[in-house]
């Protein structure tokens, strides 16, 4: 292993340990509202990045995730704000849970509708089509007076807390851990690698593409609902193409070989602009610059598949200071 790779691994290990410590410390010993809000946005960004990663892991590049997020946000906010829906079972208030679920399901339905035209096209055309879908959704909400139209939808109750957002994140991550090891995960991987080969091995492409889009859109819808009930005000500009590109960047920088990539990318790229607060308006330039540097130095993103084993970390960290042996 090269020295630069060992240094990168060390960097990742340190940041992961630090991030985990930071998160746990703030979960249990609440410090201030500012840090809490960044942690909440980080979790929302991770969920939506994972929503992008899922179809991507099957070779389907979707820039419609922001649109699906918008569907979830508007749907769940309609339930809690416009319709003033309440649902309790004994001492449990399930209103928010049901609102989120409804947002996710509606987004999944839109995702399935998106998947059908997407069945026949690949690559850059798929990217353009999903971009168009995202814009259609945005412009729909811009003109849909029922949910506020151009003036947006305000007065949403603050139901998202750091606890429920991280519980949701943990559930989503557990889902990915399972899917990756499942037959479906293996089929996705094959489709990404070689769609035609996967097809002649018996993978039902239609079914898997529709499922990938649906689950991806569902997760985006959930993240939208969490976002709406934390931001407390949403309008169509929150869910534009730019959001989709941001989601794409989270995943590309974090790594797109394995679900840990978007988790890492989503977390640290939420914090990065906060740390660079002085140049906040320039953060996209920083992101863009980072993206270019990464594409050259580490085209598959920071986290790679091989890093998912304990053996990798044991051997890397044990050999960290060994001088490089020239063959």
């Amino acid at each position: 292993m090269s020295t630069s790779m060992r240094m990168l691994s060390l960097f990742i290990a340190v940041t992961v340990v630090f991030g985990a410590y930071y998160l746990i410390a703030n979960l249990f010993f609440r410090t201030d509202a500012y840090i809490e809000s960044i942690l909440i946005f980080a979790a929302i960004n991770i969920i939506v990045s994972l929503s992008f990663y899922l179809p991507f892991s099957a070779g389907l590049l979707s820039l419609a995730q922001a649109g699906f997020m918008g569907v979830g946000a508007y749907m769940s906010a309609s339930i809690t704000t416009l319709w003033k829906f309440h649902f309790t079972v004994g001492p449990l208030d399930l209103t928010f849970f049901i609102a989120l679920l409804a947002g996710g399901i509606l987004a999944a339905i839109v995702g399935v509708l998106t998947a059908f035209p997407a069945l026949r096209i690949r690559g850059v055309y798929l990217l353009l089509m999903t971009l168009a879908i995202s814009e259609i959704i945005r412009v729909f909400f811009l003109n849909f007076e029922y949910t506020g139209g151009a003036s947006g939808l305000g007065g949403i109750p603050p139901l998202t807390t750091i606890w429920n957002v991280y519980v949701a994140l943990v559930l989503v991550v557990l889902f990915f851990v399972r899917v990756t090891k499942s037959r479906m995960g293996r089929a996705f991987e094959s489709m990404k690698e070689d769609q035609d080969a996967a097809e002649v091995m018996g993978v039902d492409l239609t079914r898997h593409k529709v499922v990938a889009f649906a689950i991806g859109a569902f997760l985006a819808g959930i993240s939208g609902g969490l976002y709406a009930h934390y931001a407390l005000y949403i309008d169509s500009t929150n869910f534009g193409v730019f959001r989709s590109i941001e989601i794409l960047i989270f995943t590309l920088l974090g790594g797109y070989e394995i679900y840990a990539g978007p988790i890492y990318g989503g977390f640290y790229l939420t914090f990065l602009p906060e740390w660079l607060r002085i140049i906040q308006d320039w953060r996209i330039i920083i992101f863009g610059g980072l993206l270019i540097v990464m594409m050259i130095l580490r085209p598959a993103g920071l986290i790679s598949k091989e890093m998912m084993s304990l053996r990798y970390w044991r051997s890397t960290l044990a050999n960290l200071w060994k001088p490089r042996v020239e063959a």
């Binding site: 037959r183 293996r186 089929a187 991987e189 094959s190 690698e193 070689d194 035609d196 080969a197 996967a198 097809e199 002649v200 091995m201 018996g202 993978v203 039902d204 492409l205 239609t206």
Partner: protein, 237 residues
């Protein structure tokens, strides 16, 4: 077992198969020879469902395959080993083999088959945790064949298995095909290396620009002067 009758297929407006009829009986090895662009690969792709036929009929064990999707055809027991190997380079050798048996339950028979594959291809056993892309060309072709076998096919179709391989490896691949034949497998082989292919097969078809022009036993085809002229590099030495 497999009966193709009057099959038409086209790329856009260009007809690639113009009424092809062909039969493969159980336990038989059949070779399809023809030059570049004659429609050999198109025929395999149409049988495996990757391409939709424009007309004609494909019947496998009494089931019409014409309207079936590729995964349904795999389920019927037809597996295609694609041209250019088409292994999944970023998956390990073992994962590739598992993908071969994608539609099968993970039962004892599956594990026995996997074990048998490793006995037959010891090199794949040694490299099972390696990425498939790191294998040599010949090893990749073996993996492609092994992956096809993992599907427990009743008919295995091989598209140019010797393509781009060194002569020694080509012989090795044909030895494997001969072995599979001896086991009683049903094989439909498409090859440019006509002499070797005819030597391991029972019957052969000659396809020219989308038409089958000749069908005979392999000995007869090897002795046919036109076939020698066109596909076997001149008269027999």
């Amino acid at each position: 077992m497999l009966k193709v009758s009057n099959l038409y297929a086209a790329y856009g407006e260009i007809l690639a198969l113009k009424g092809v009829s062909l039969e493969v009986r159980e336990g038989e090895t059949v070779t399809l020879i023809g030059s570049n662009g004659a429609g050999k690969s198109t025929l395999l792709k149409t049988i495996s469902g990757v391409m939709r036929p424009r007309g004609g009929d494909i019947v496998f064990d009494g089931h019409h395959l014409n309207r079936m999707k590729p995964h349904e055809i795999v389920r019927q027991g037809i597996v295609q080993v694609q041209e250019g190997r088409a292994i999944l380079k970023r998956l390990t050798v073992l994962e590739n083999l598992e993908m071969g048996g994608y539609l099968r339950p993970r039962d004892t028979e599956y594990r026995e088959d996997l074990q048998r594959i490793f006995e037959r291809f010891p090199i794949l056993d040694q490299r099972k945790q390696q990425l498939a892309g790191s294998l040599s060309g010949g090893e990749q072709q073996m993996l492609a064949i092994a992956r096809g076998l993992m599907a427990k096919p009743r008919l295995i179709m091989m598209d140019e298995p010797s393509l781009g391989l060194a002569p020694l490896i080509v012989s090795e691949i044909f030895r494997i095909i001969a072995e599979m034949k001896k086991e009683g497998r049903t094989i439909l082989l498409v090859e440019q290396n006509a002499r070797k292919a005819l030597q391991v097969s029972d019957r052969g078809y000659v396809i020219v620009t989308g038409n089958i022009i000749l069908e005979d036993s392999c000995e007869a085809l090897l002795g046919n002067s036109e076939v020698q002229e066109a596909y076997l590099g001149g008269r027999k030495a």
